[in-house]
């Protein structure tokens, strides 16, 4: 669907579908995982049919997410290569957070913050997958010291990942005109020019 022929295509349908598969899996994993982490969150296990069902489903959803995350990683890894401009952008992230982005260095398809987010979630996903396998009692039984280590790594990486994704989702809400890129793939030219000037020029030749 094209809302305005002048809009710029930011994501293909395949990229959007991949993102949502990963996103939905993440939400299910965060809710069921938090249930095992702190008693305050245990009632979340009811969303999955109780504690036992949450325990059974969580690792399978994890493997499912990891698979689609790898696909997404392969799609986007080149676009997320860090450049010196990104590093400059990151060093001045305070101005951005303060709400004044007019003097920020010119950005390509992704800014330094988005790229840092990308790589941090790749690290978290890798840690979660490996440590998750270690603590998957129903399937594996490695030496107990390894399981204990895995449990700590899994908890730390999961909390980091949830925090990252909260920031990721908030950034999309904060920067108006962004979420539509993940719904139907396009953004306005003005949006692109303001937030990703280099990408705007690349796309429009202006």
């Amino acid at each position: 669907m094209i809302r305005d022929p002048k809009d710029l295509q930011r994501y293909t349908p395949q990229e959007r579908a991949n993102h949502w598969v990963v996103g939905i899996s993440f939400i299910l994993l965060a809710l069921s995982g938090l249930a095992f982490f702190h008693p305050a969150f245990y009632p979340l296990s009811q969303l999955f049919g109780g504690g036992t069902w949450a325990r059974i489903l969580h690792p399978y959803i994890g493997v499912f997410m990891a698979f689609f995350f790898v696909l997404m990683f392969l799609r986007f890894r080149k676009l997320n290569a860090m450049t010196p401009t990104d590093k400059e952008w990151l060093s001045r992230i305070g101005e951005m957070v303060d709400g004044d982005d007019h003097n920020m260095p010119e950005q390509g398809k992704y800014n330094g913050g988005q790229k840092a987010m990308f790589w941090a979630s790749v690290v978290c996903m890798a840690l979660l997958l490996v440590s998750g396998v270690l603590i998957w009692r129903a399937q594996f039984s490695p030496p107990v010291e390894l399981v204990r280590f895995g449990a700590v790594v899994h908890a730390v990486a999961a909390v980091a990942m949830i925090a990252l994704i909260v920031i990721h989702a908030y950034a999309a809400i904060w920067v108006k005109g962004t979420i539509r890129a993940m719904w139907y793939g396009t953004v306005t030219r003005a949006w692109a020019r303001q937030h990703h000037r280099a990408w705007y020029r690349e796309m429009t030749g202006k």
């Binding site: 002048k6 249930a35 095992f36 982490f37 702190h38 008693p39 305050a40 969150f41 245990y42 296990s45 109780g50 504690g51 036992t52 949450a54 325990r55 059974i56 957070v97 303060d98 709400g99 982005d101 007019h102 603590i135 009692r137 129903a138 107990v144 010291e145 399981v147 204990r148 280590f149 449990a151 700590v152 908890a155 730390v156 909390v159 949830i162 925090a163 909260v166 920031i167 908030y170 809400i173 904060w174 920067v175 108006k176 005109g177 306005t188 030219r189 003005a190 949006w191 020019r193 303001q194 429009t204 202006k206």
Partner: protein, 295 residues
Amino acid sequence: MALQSLDIKQRSATTTPAPSVRQTTAVAKLIDVSTCIGCKACQAACMEWNDIRDEVGINHGVFDNPVDLTAKSWTVMRFAEVEEKGRLEWLIRKDGCMHCADPGCLKACPAPGAIVQYANGIVDFHEEHCIGCGYCITGCPFNVPRISKEDGKAYKCSLCSDRVAVGQAPACAKACPTGAIQFGSKEDMKDYAARRIGDLKERGFDKAGLYDPAGVGGTHVLYVLHHADRPQLYNGLPADPGISPLVSLWKGAAKPLASLALGAVALGSLFHYVMKGPNEVSKETERDVEKETEQ
């Protein structure tokens, strides 16, 4: 697994006090390794009282039968052949839950009420609340709990909490033909042990002693060992057991800190929006783009 009780000291994954109006005396089971003959009457009594029959296994060339604890075998005799001062010693240890005062299983358990510790010191699994995650195994310093392959629930020795609740001794203690398993208040058991240790010392076991490891706050299953300086001789009984620092970190500091951090990120985002406002495309940029597009 026992009936509802009013003397619960700790309950897994519960942050408010458990019902604890009734206070009971701390109990203990004393296993005197020096008088155990390895007859396995305790194993038979355990399966009989709890009415659980394990699969009939195969002989592994040693007396250990079954070779390990299982979801259906809550206690097993572990036989060790050790040479001491040129003489063979057959060290037989009845293995099973130690009923720690500071239970690693309970600390690790994420399911509210799946593991409880009574005022008398017994650590009990309530399998109907168990979700089968196996965190109790991860938390246990003695490698005791086992997950059943049939129902996915964790099982271990209950110290016959159902018998103890009505003033009876555990089935294993009742069945022991040599008096190697004694049951009573923890104080009485320590006194009894002291007499046994004195006797052993007289007979040349100058390192005889009580196994009541302080690292887990003491246990409610005690051993009299002839070689209390080397508990590892008894099929790897840990010398200084304690809850792993990794488990303490995971189920201690990490829980409130991480929960606060996540709350702060979520609320921080909300208040950022409220205080800084949305990041919208400026009118100026919109005009610039219109001009550029017309060209």
